[in-house]
């Protein structure tokens, strides 16, 4: 554990520089640059809103706004984008950085930190845009928005923990890089993001208990759409799970350390 922190401290310049480079790279040579990061999720929102709002708009009692569905949808998409991006990056964390790991001596723990830093920076941009749009739609943020750092932190912790485990295993089982996106697709549709929870039949609803994304997305809904405090108990459970996964992930990194580079 001590060596872990020492490695991170020694390579702090590398972490900072890598995050900066990744962000700069997004802007390089394309006119809209980093704006594409915002455009993609917002277009997704626009499409779902256009296609489904007529069907679903009646179901939102808690939000007093004409654009209730769009606001609900956007809040969920913000959470999903963060989870999806973190996990996708972690999936290729070691495989994608194979050249670097083979040729340079870089502590492996720096890589998830770089991934998290980049994803968080991008997500912050998306978050700021969304807050602006909400205000424009007559749904300005209230003080409950102060819960956001905590919720975001729990989400990233969980995604990073899971991602690290998957990232290590992906070095040895390359099928994961195909499998994980499919599972993510299922998870997306199995989480109430596009639709409200009420449309799930009562006898099926308990299945959501097994979906770790449900409490996280719900917390985003609570804070951003319904503007109320999130359920701290379920967040705590996910946070704990995330912490355990992270420990497992770091442990796997340590165990796999000797052989990982051999197979990259």
């Amino acid at each position: 554990m001590n060596g872990l922190l020492k490695g991170v401290y020694q390579y702090r310049h590398f972490i900072a520089s890598s995050i900066r480079n990744e962000l700069v790279n997004q802007f390089a040579r394309s006119r809209l640059g980093g704006l594409w990061l915002v455009i993609h999720p917002l277009v997704m929102v626009a499409i779902y809103a256009f296609v489904l709002s007529a069907v679903l708009s009646a179901k939102f009692d808690g939000i007093d706004n004409d654009y209730a569905y769009a606001i609900y949808l956007t809040s969920g998409i913000l959470a999903w984008t963060l989870f999806n991006d973190t996990l996708s990056r972690c999936l290729n964390l070691f495989v994608g950085n194979g050249d670097l790991l083979k040729k340079m001596r870089v502590p492996k723990v720096t890589l998830p930190l770089i991934a998290a830093g980049t994803v968080l920076a991008n997500n912050l941009l998306l978050f700021a845009t969304i807050i602006l749009i909400f205000a424009f739609l007559g749904h300005p943020p209230t003080l409950v928005v102060l819960w956001m750092p905590l919720i975001t932190g729990v989400l990233v912790l969980f995604a990073l923990g899971l991602g690290l485990v998957i990232g290590v295993l992906n070095v040895f089982f390359r099928d994961l890089s195909q499998l994980v996106p499919i599972v993510l697709q299922f998870l997306f549709w199995f989480t109430p993001i596009v639709y409200p929870i009420v449309i799930i039949p009562d006898n099926m609803r308990h299945l959501l208990m097994f979906n770790p994304m449900y409490p996280l997305v719900s917390a985003y809904h609570d804070v951003l759409a319904y503007q109320r405090s999130p359920d701290l108990f379920s967040l705590g459970v996910i946070g704990l799970a995330g912490g355990l996964l992270l420990i497992l992930g770091l442990w796997l990194v340590r165990k796999a350390n000797a052989e990982m580079v051999d197979l990259l």
Binding site: H13, S17, N21, F172, E259
Partner: protein, 403 residues
């Protein structure tokens, strides 16, 4: 003081019929791998501060793996590497350069991989830019660089701070000759300030010019550790080694070691150097016309016989060498038992010093195809300056100076 200690280092790659077994092995289950290939096998050596060590060996002997274990990109299965100080490697020049970023930005990033922050780079960036000599390109994206420019910038970052250990892997042959000289000078400079060099190369000349010691790796083990000339001779013999051929090492007077190898179909019976008065000579004068007389006996049927020789200086650098294939004096189908006398007359236009003669008997252009006998240090002689003006260097180029 030792800057590098490698102790009983072993690295193997494990292969499993299912990767699940590999994962199970991390959890402490004892699973048998399908195959284990050992790339580094029980290697132990120490390197002192300021030493220059050449690492040689055939392809696949484990040179790169050893270096990766030393730099820490590969992890050993057992044994240890202890490094006192910072290691810099000129292995993959330009590795990790981001094509969209400018040379300057890449320098900051590359330095961060080496553990240096922006403030550290700020201190050296002016010198670094001057050293790289890429002009205004320094602030252009790296994708617009030629490969030579990329190497210049990469070398400049890699050597911006003097490391305790510098690893050089054939990189000296990159870039144009002007920059090669420049980078070579910097490496020498570091060495004189106490940096230890680890040099991997197939190039005999650069190993012998730079190193004071060499390690020969073969199948993951260090099979020879000693003065570069001796190790390179042994390496050379090893390359030429074929079935039924032998490598023989003989200690000569004065601590030198003669290595001979070959399949033995033909052997040198006698070798001697005669001066301009046709007397046997150990000492000859600069510019003197001398004769190298070599008697060869054929022991087994062969289709052709070529004699090659070269003259090397004290450090093992080749001064001159050729063979009877190039002079088109191949002896076709020599009879078994026949003896052949070769007389090689030449002016000894060499600088003052001690020289050795290497001989080789083979079938064709080089000793790679068939090597009857290869003998290093077959003869040693000295050149002294008797009647020429004072000069320096390894050869006599008579000047006409007008003022």
């Amino acid at each position: 003081m030792n800057v590098l200690e490698v102790h009983r280092l072993t690295k193997c790659f494990r292969e499993f019929n299912s990767e699940w077994k590999r994962v199970a092995s991390w959890f402490g289950f004892s699973v048998k791998p399908l195959a284990v290939s050992t790339v580094i096998n029980d290697v132990t050596f120490q390197v002192k501060a300021g030493e220059a060590v050449g690492v040689v060996g055939q392809n696949g002997a484990g040179k790169s793996s050893l270096l990766k274990l030393i730099t820490g990109t590969l992890q050993p299965n057992s044994g240890s590497v202890t490094v006192n100080g910072r290691i810099a490697a000129i292995l993959e020049l330009g590795m990790g350069f981001n094509p969209e970023l400018t040379g300057r930005q890449n320098v900051y990033h590359a330095a961060s991989i080496m553990g240096f922050g922006a403030a550290d780079v700020d201190e050296v960036i002016a010198d670094l830019e001057a050293f790289a000599e890429v002009g205004h390109y320094f602030d252009e994206p790296v994708r617009t660089y030629s490969s030579g420019m990329q190497v210049r910038v990469a070398f400049a970052v890699a050597t911006a701070w003097r490391p305790e250990i510098l690893i050089v892997d054939e990189a000296l042959s990159v870039g144009d000759s002007y920059f090669q000289h420049k980078s070579f000078n910097r490496i020498r400079e570091f060495q004189s300030q106490g940096t230890t060099l680890l040099i991997v190369s197939h190039d005999r000349a650069s190993i012998q010019a730079l190193c004071d010691r060499a390690l020969l790796l073969e199948k993951g083990s260090v099979i020879k550790d000693g003065p570069p000339e001796e190790v390179m001779d042994f390496y050379n013999a090893l390359i030429a080694e074929k079935e039924n051929s032998t490598v023989e090492v003989k200690a000569l007077d004065g601590g030198k070691v003669q290595t001979s190898s070959g399949t033995g179909e033909a052997r040198i019976e006698e070798i001697a150097l005669y001066n301009s008065k046709s007397e046997l000579a150990d000492y000859i004068a600069v510019g003197e016309d001398v004769e190298l007389r070599i008697k060869v006996k054929v022991h087994k049927p062969i289709t052709s016989l070529v004699l090659g020789y070269c003259i090397k200086d004290r450090l093992g650098q080749v001064m001159y060498g050729t063979n009877t294939w190039h002079s088109q004096q191949i002896i076709e189908n020599p009879e078994v038992g026949s003896e052949h006398q070769f007389v090689i007359a030449f002016p000894a236009n060499l600088g003052v010093g001690s020289y050795s003669v290497v001989t080789a008997l083979h079938a064709r252009e080089s000793h790679i195809d068939a090597n009857y006998e290869w003998r290093d240090l077959a003869l040693v002689f000295n050149v002294v300056n008797i009647n020429k003006m004072q000069f320096q260097g390894c050869n006599w180029m008579e000047p006409k100076i007008t003022v």
